[in-house]
Subunit: 190 residues, 2 copies
């Protein structure tokens, strides 16, 4: 890097609106060149965990369900909201078990990211599970009815290619798992 990129300075913050699931607020910010932006809107949603869990044969534990934010049925990866005071890893283990009945021999953090670069949104924590095995019946307590499907890696990628996964956070989880677990080097890629 030849130039230095400076952060913005937050001069004031004002909450605009709150529901049990999100806080909308606006900030007065100062840019590095001295300009002032009076109302830079932000929305903060609950953090969540997403788990790419593989069985001993490498199959990935997926869910097919209607999601109201999509107005459609989609394939998704297991995951859910991190409770107040809960560690992301514990949330990942709990959500996987509740939603699918699966537990993993190992569960490894593979990165955390934000859903919206400008507005903020939520922080999502990704985990890669290995040795996944169904140890109990699913009992998510979620509003959604869901079908558990295990897909071999090639089938997972084909389903993505066909547009059956409709949420960006799931796709990003797959990329992170690919990068963390394989020799994917990009010589011929991207």
């Amino acid at each position: 890097m030849t130039r230095r990129l400076s952060p913005w300075r937050t001069l004031a913050r004002r909450e605009l609106f709150r529901t049990p699931r999100m806080i909308v607020f606006t900030e007065r910010v100062e840019l590095p060149d001295g300009r002032i932006v009076e109302d830079y809107d932000q929305v903060e949603m609950a953090s969540f965990a997403i788990i790419l869990a593989q069985t001993e044969t490498g199959a990935v534990v997926c869910e097919r369900q209607y999601k109201h934010g999509l107005r459609q049925v989609s394939l998704t990866l297991p995951g859910g909201q991190i409770e107040t005071g809960e560690e992301p890893l514990a949330a990942a283990r709990r959500e996987l078990l509740e939603e699918t009945g699966y537990a993993c021999v190992s569960l490894t953090a593979i990165g955390s990211f934000r859903t919206h670069a400008n507005h903020g949104g939520a922080t999502v924590y990704y985990f890669h599970g290995q040795g996944a095995r169904q140890v109990q019946a699913p009992n998510s307590g979620d509003l959604e009815e869901m079908i558990i499907e295990t897909l071999p890696p090639a089938g997972l990628l084909e389903a993505i290619r066909q547009g059956e996964f409709m949420v960006v956070a799931d796709l990003a989880a797959v990329l992170m798992a690919l990068l963390k677990t394989t020799g994917l080097k990009g010589a011929d890629h991207a």
Copy 2:
């Protein structure tokens, strides 16, 4: 699929709050089993386009900038909000040119997705550009100061592995471009 997954029915919708950049509303919904949920919150943000543009040598046009939603400097892909009445493809071409000064010989849609499965969020449209060439100086008009960097594919994936890309929508764009442009089959992956 052995079972049929039914969509929820929206019985009523009430706007709670609106800024120039987002609408928060709540819905009364009926689940397939007849249960009623009185307040299912939704947030609708502006649609945006993200472009993975490659030069003739395969290098990917990236931006390094401070993003206030992250409170950090991050590598990102070019992209931005789709204006009212604008086609996603036109928005992609415009944003790439404004932010980076690059134009592509070809620009192809590689899928559209939602940022939040439950809350809705925004719809993001992905594009893959080939033959990218800088034809003018960047002039984004954005609040952010940015540094344009072109990364070879291997360097792009290494930067992702190192956590230099912090926004899920960018990571998902990379996965979609990988799937659409290469023989990535997943035999040893995910």
